[in-house]
């Protein structure tokens, strides 16, 4: 595996101020307005359906609305808040996108609340009262599979401006897990406006803040290093008070690997007294990896965010053409305090305009991710549009600068942002084509470069994407362009080396890696790649030197130990290789290469139990690796666990249906447990794929003979002999058949 690093853009932001009344969806069951309006009959049903998710004792709302007495206390505010559409918090204008969980009250509901208060807030007939909803202060989905807690309690000051802080929660497990749901317990719900969780695949944010990460790092937005493989951010991990549980759609869990960090970005609002926060994230696992792979796309134009003081109508726009068909699952508009009107729409190839969202009165405190009721289908060639308006005058009450000053893009709350994120799932992907997410990434990065040719992050990501698409020559050109800007960037040189290697230029690759190492002696990735290049060229001694050099500079690297192990195997020094694999495993119990080779060695040395232990772990790391399944099947077979062996081979055959050897192996295992007919079918499949396999025809003949099908067996042995006239077993088997 090449070691490249991409940079991903993680966006996070702020939400709700006072959660006075929350979650107001459409209520159907109200009596006509002409009837006397009472709490029990009309108001409680509206409140229970739309408000008490937050406004219950211990909930994130600042007070309860659960009982008549509670609501009576807040009656005038309920009128004010609902009439002003401040509550329930719901910014999108109706008719500009159909969202799941829309919380806008109907006009009738708002009127009912007003009439109730005007009538003196009568309680009404107790027999008409709806059932009191029940809220649990703990995890909504039951005990999570993994609970992560922020490293140190954080004390929020009693007063002051809102606080945006990033807490890093390292993923502590040694194995990959797929996450089907996430829940956050903020510990003091009333001070948490909203939270965003960002995945940091390489713990880059933590390493940049190695001294003080445990106390949380201030900031609204952050960038993280997305690591070796193309694994773009794909989910909105956005929490707000009325949706404490975030469940992913079927087939779309997200993944956590050993070494990943979760970054919990919290928007906190001082309450009037110091608050000590010990937030927790609860994760719920699923054994099934994702079958659908969405990704997040961003429209933005921060470069043109340069808003003169006093400007009331500053517009920022962007557009992006889709290179593939997609379904849009969710949308996340984001600006800071000066944004006033945020719009997103799509122009389809036929010219039709499809609204994605319209927020006429932006309020950062009530921001949210909006998920569509049904995914929005956008064909290839659609152009996505973002159109944001900013007000930098003193009339904008949210303006953090008094008097107004010139404002540009930035990470602080006094700076601005112009971002529109979309979660898209590529659909109608041609079979055998490239990963459509790479095509989206390419379009996105090319567009960024069109806006700003000096955008080096975009240039780097574009180059990496081109490399991922197999366009090695173009990738090389892009990396060289980047090197023309930053000639001494070791990371780019390393990536250039990888691209050159893919293009078959191993000399150029060696040169690039060597330069990277010269510039940055502890450029571990370049050292790794240089050693691995030698390994791939079967220059085992050189590879061993390379890995050993790397380990001197970068000790404790499990992959380097396992790479050295493979190089030693190449030199047939299996004892030393074994030691290196053991070292790799001691450093990283999930190191696939070590697990695989130690498992293989255990098979060879007749230790089937150890082999199965190791190979099962290897298979858990790479469930789609056919070789591992095959070795594991062999280990099971050696242990006498034919059923398990068959299961592994069936999985291997599912993964690689065109691999004749796998079918043949499965046939043998099936024969061994007496499933002759299935064994015959598998052998036939193998032979359809590999019809000139004389051994296969002989084996099929044996199976047919055992099944009592002499004629078929005869034909099979004869076929084997036609292909290999000296095939002794086929000849002997033919002779053994009863005469016709």
């Amino acid at each position: 595996m090449k070691r490249l690093r991409c940079i991903s853009f993680a966006c996070i932001c702020g939400v709700t101020l006072l959660c006075l009344l929350t979650r107001c969806a459409i209520d159907a069951a109200e009596a006509p307005v002409t009837e006397p309006v009472t709490w029990n009959r009309q108001i409680a049903p509206i409140v229970y359906r739309n408000c008490t998710t937050c406004h219950h004792p211990g909930g994130s709302g600042p007070f309860s609305l659960l009982t008549y007495k509670d609501a009576q206390r807040r009656g005038p505010q309920m009128v004010q808040a609902t009439q002003a559409r401040y509550m329930p918090p719901w910014l999108p204008a109706p008719g500009y996108g159909e969202f799941a969980g829309a919380r806008r009250l109907t006009e009738e509901q708002v009127t009912l609340i007003r009439k109730w208060v005007e009538a003196g807030m009568p309680e009404g007939d107790a027999s008409a009262a709806p059932q009191l909803p029940h809220y649990d202060a703990t995890w909504q989905l039951g005990k999570p599979d993994l609970i992560l807690t922020i490293e140190r309690p954080y004390t929020l000051a009693a007063s002051g401006t809102d606080v945006f802080r990033n807490f890093i929660l390292p993923y502590p497990l040694a194995a990959t897990h797929y996450i089907r749901a996430m829940e956050i317990l903020p510990s003091i719900p009333a001070v948490l406006h909203h939270a965003n969780v960002i995945l940091d695949r390489t713990a880059s944010f933590r390493s940049h803040h190695s001294a003080d990460w445990k106390d949380g790092i201030p900031g609204m937005e952050l960038e993280v290093d997305s690591g070796n493989t193309f694994d773009p951010d794909s989910h909105f991990l956005f929490w707000k008070p009325d949706t404490p549980v975030l469940e992913e759609p079927a087939g779309m869990p997200w993944k956590l690997d050993p070494g990943n960090d979760l970054i919990l970005n919290m928007h906190l609002k001082p309450s009037g007294k110091p608050e000590t926060i010990t937030a927790q994230i609860g994760l719920y696992f699923t054994p099934e990896p994702a079958s659908k792979h969405p990704m997040l796309l961003q429209l933005e134009d921060d470069r043109h965010l340069d808003i003169p003081a006093g400007d009331r109508n500053f517009v920022v726009q962007d557009e992006l053409k889709l290179p593939v068909d997609v379904e849009v699952f969710g949308i996340y508009p984001h600006a800071h305090y000066l944004g006033t009107e945020l719009e997103g729409w799509a122009i389809l190839p036929n010219g039709e305009k499809k609204w994605l969202i319209r927020i006429p009165n932006w309020d950062i405190d009530r921001q949210s991710v909006y998920r569509y009721r049904d995914p929005v289908v956008l064909p290839r060639g659609t152009v996505l549009h973002m159109h944001y308006v900013y007000d930098n005058s003193k009339e904008n009450v949210h303006n953090p600068n008094a008097p107004p000053i010139r404002v540009r893009a930035g990470n602080r709350s006094v700076d601005e942002m112009a971002h529109l994120w979309l979660q898209v799932l590529p659909v109608n992907t041609p079979k055998g084509g490239p990963d459509p997410r790479l095509l989206l990434e390419q379009a996105w990065m090319e567009h960024r470069l069109a806006k700003n040719p000096e955008d080096t992050i975009a240039l780097y990501n574009l180059a990496s994407t081109l490399a991922g698409l197999g366009h090695s020559a173009e990738a090389v050109a892009a990396y060289r362009k980047l090197l023309a800007i930053h000639p001494e960037d070791a990371r780019t040189l390393n990536s250039l080396g990888a691209a050159l290697e893919s293009a078959g230029d191993w000399r150029g690759a060696t040169d690039a890696y060597t330069k990277a190492i010269a510039l940055e002696p502890n450029a571990c990735d370049a050292r790794f790649n240089l050693a691995e290049l030698a390994l791939n060229r079967k220059e085992f001694a050189q590879a061993q030197d390379g890995f050993r050099n790397m380990l001197r500079q970068c000790p404790g690297d499990a992959e380097a130990h396992s790479g050295l192990g493979v190089a030693l195997l190449g030199s047939e020094d299996s004892a030393s290789a074994r030691e290196e694999f053991e070292r790799a495993l001691a450093l990283d119990p999930s190191n696939f290469t070590a697990l695989y080779h130690l498992g293989e060695a255990a098979i060879e040395s007749g230790e089937p139990q150890r082999a199965t232990d190791l190979l099962e772990k290897a298979a858990a790391q790479r469930p789609g690796d056919v070789d591992t399944r095959e070795r594991l099947a062999m280990a099971f077979a050696q242990s006498g666990r034919a059923g398990d062996s068959r299961a592994q081979l069936r999985e291997a055959v599912r993964l690689a249906p065109d691999d004749a050897n796998l079918h043949a192996l499965l046939s043998q295992v099936l024969a061994g447990i007496g499933q002759l007919q299935q064994a015959i079918e598998e052998e036939e499949r193998a032979l359809r794929l590999q019809p000139k396999d004389a051994d296969g025809w002989n084996n099929l003949g044996v199976l047919e003979a055992r099944a009592g099908n002499s004629a078929e067996a005869r034909a099979d042995f004869q076929r084997a002999l036609q292909l290999a006239p000296d095939h002794a077993e086929a000849r002997a088997n033919l002779a053994r058949l009863p005469r016709r």
């Binding site: 401040y86 007294k273 949210h398 303006n399």
Partner: protein, 195 residues
């Protein structure tokens, strides 16, 4: 000499006002159940009533600001009272609330909402500033503390106009207190009698 005389005059006024302010009925009750019959100690130049509610989030968010102003104006002999007008704010509730929010000022339970009526307060948080006058207490300021909250859902990141502070300064300088630049935002005061 002139200044000294004027100052002495002010003291005399305060004394006479204090006598007037000693009403037949107490203003409210303190947290120990004793009637509060006097809200202006001798020598006070102004009295600030902060209308609070233990369950009102905006009122609670203003606690540090009120503490700051109380500390700042203590040397100027400005007396702050934390007035709790709502029926649900019993002595036990308020004591717990004051401990939780580290409130150092004196609380008065406005059990008859006499102070609420006197100040014309309708919501929490609101503040009233009184000074002595020959006719008794004179309200020189009533309304919001500052302009951080403009309406429900309209909040500035930070206040830009500190109405209460400006009013106190003007009062101490014997100038008319500028009136609030906008309405107070918060939670309605719950009437003591059923509506």
């Amino acid at each position: 000499m002139f200044w000294a005389m004027a100052s002495r005059g002010a003291l005399i006024l305060l004394c006479s006002w204090a006598l007037v302010a000693r009403a037949a009925e107490p203003f409210g009750m303190d947290l120990n159940g004793h009637p509060v019959e006097q809200i202006v100690p001798a020598g006070a130049k102004a009295v600030v009533l902060f209308f609070a509610a233990s369950d009102c989030p905006i009122a609670n968010r203003y606690i540090p600001e009120i503490e700051r102003l109380a500390d700042e104006f203590a040397p100027d002999r400005v007396r702050f009272w934390w007035v709790y007008p709502n029926p649900s704010d019993t002595a036990a509730v308020v004591r717990h609330h004051d401990e939780e929010f580290h409130i150092r000022g004196d609380a008065v339970l406005d059990t008859e909402q006499r102070l609420t009526r006197m100040a014309h307060a309708t919501i929490t948080p609101e503040v009233a500033v009184f000074v002595a006058s020959p006719d008794g207490l004179r309200e020189v300021y009533m309304g919001r503390i500052d302009d951080r909250y403009l309406a429900l859902g309209q909040e500035r990141p930070e206040a830009t106009q500190h109405d209460l502070e400006t009013a106190i300064r003007a009062t101490l300088a014997h100038r008319p207190a500028p009136q609030p630049g906008g309405p107070a935002v918060g939670c309605s005061i719950v009437p003591r009698t059923a509506p």
